[in-house]
Symmetry: C2
Subunit: 211 residues, 2 copies
């Protein structure tokens, strides 16, 4: 899912298209899934699809993928992507701007989703947390919380059912859609390096780790 318009990067180019060691972030991400997923669907804002196709022409043998236009929210975009797949088998929904995910984690997510119906990578929360209460904030115990990453793995049929049940509500990730529908969430350990590239500093980090 490459929905972002890059407004937080301080430049015009959406962040999934930014070069990371000479290659667009999204191509790095696709390469991680290559040979693991039978089929890859990239969800892009409709206005970015032509740009992306042209960008791909500049690289030898880009990983084959289907392109689908996104919706007005991340939730709507994922649903458009899901509808381009069959109802059988497993799906791993991944943020395009997480190119540092390991192939091992992708494989673990598919394996766990096969057994449990869902597989959500999570990590401990690293910073102290406060919760906003009106104009002020109060501390909470970060050990009570989990930070959620992607790829998030599901049986496609169950995730589609969850999307039908949520019918248009907007959520920040698919685990939330799935859980709100009453299905059980199975978690597994995520990865420190599997960050979402949002800020200039994240790209520096990704560049250092990809070198």
């Amino acid at each position: 899912v490459a929905g972002g318009h890059g407004s937080r990067m301080g430049q015009e180019l959406p962040k999934q298209f930014l070069p990371l060691n000479g290659k667009p972030i999204l191509l790095h991400t696709l390469e991680k899934f290559s040979g693991i997923a039978d089929e890859i669907v990239v969800v892009l804002p409709a206005s970015h699809i032509d740009y992306w196709k042209e960008l791909c022409f500049g690289f030898e043998n880009p990983v084959p993928h289907k392109i689908v236009a996104g919706g007005t929210s991340r939730t709507a975009s994922v649903l458009n992507g899901l509808q381009a797949l069959g109802e059988d088998g497993l799906v791993a929904v991944h943020d395009a701007v997480r190119p540092l995910v390991s192939r091992a984690l992708i494989q673990e997510v598919f394996a766990a989703a096969l057994v449990h119906g869902s597989a959500i990578p999570v990590t401990p929360v690293r910073e102290s947390l406060r919760i906003k209460r009106d104009a002020v904030s109060e501390p909470v115990d970060r050990d009570d919380y989990l930070a959620v990453q992607t790829p998030q793995g599901f049986r496609i049929s169950k995730l589609l059912e969850a999307y039908r049940i949520s019918s248009g509500a907007v959520f920040s990730d698919d685990a939330t859609v799935f859980g709100k529908a009453g299905f059980a969430i199975h978690t597994l350990p995520g990865e420190v390096a599997n960050i979402k590239i949002t800020f200039r500093e994240d790209l520096i980090f990704a560049t250092a780790l990809t070198a």
Copy 2:
């Protein structure tokens, strides 16, 4: 505050002593405060003090600082450090392993603490969050939360009073000690790069940003 024993780094040397572009992380951190703070107190586990002094001998003109032995928790360590300062003026309590803090943020923290009595740098939470409930977890809205950084600025007299009120309870940061005592928490924007160096990947990030 350099309390860590480095158990999460996968190596023996506590992380505040690890080299970052040829210089210990803790020396980088001290340099950020040099010329802004009138006095710098480094709180170290008693067993690491001699090692640290020897390490400093290897560098020209390390930033002058007082060394104080830490306690059995972060809270106890900070209190030991506070007691090495006078009761007048302001203190900024900082994690030794956050060498990427900007001098501008340190100055903003002191300026805001002077006006408001406290100054806590916070950032939005970047990942989706779940809260643990017994064996399962539920989504929460990350927009309701703040991630807390250091340096945390306070009037020394009020922070000491907060420590007396909390009398030995253990908290993950000083904002929590201060707020539990009934004092108001003033927040200001933190920095994306101001991470706590905990994992191998963090050191790669810090190296890239310090180059």
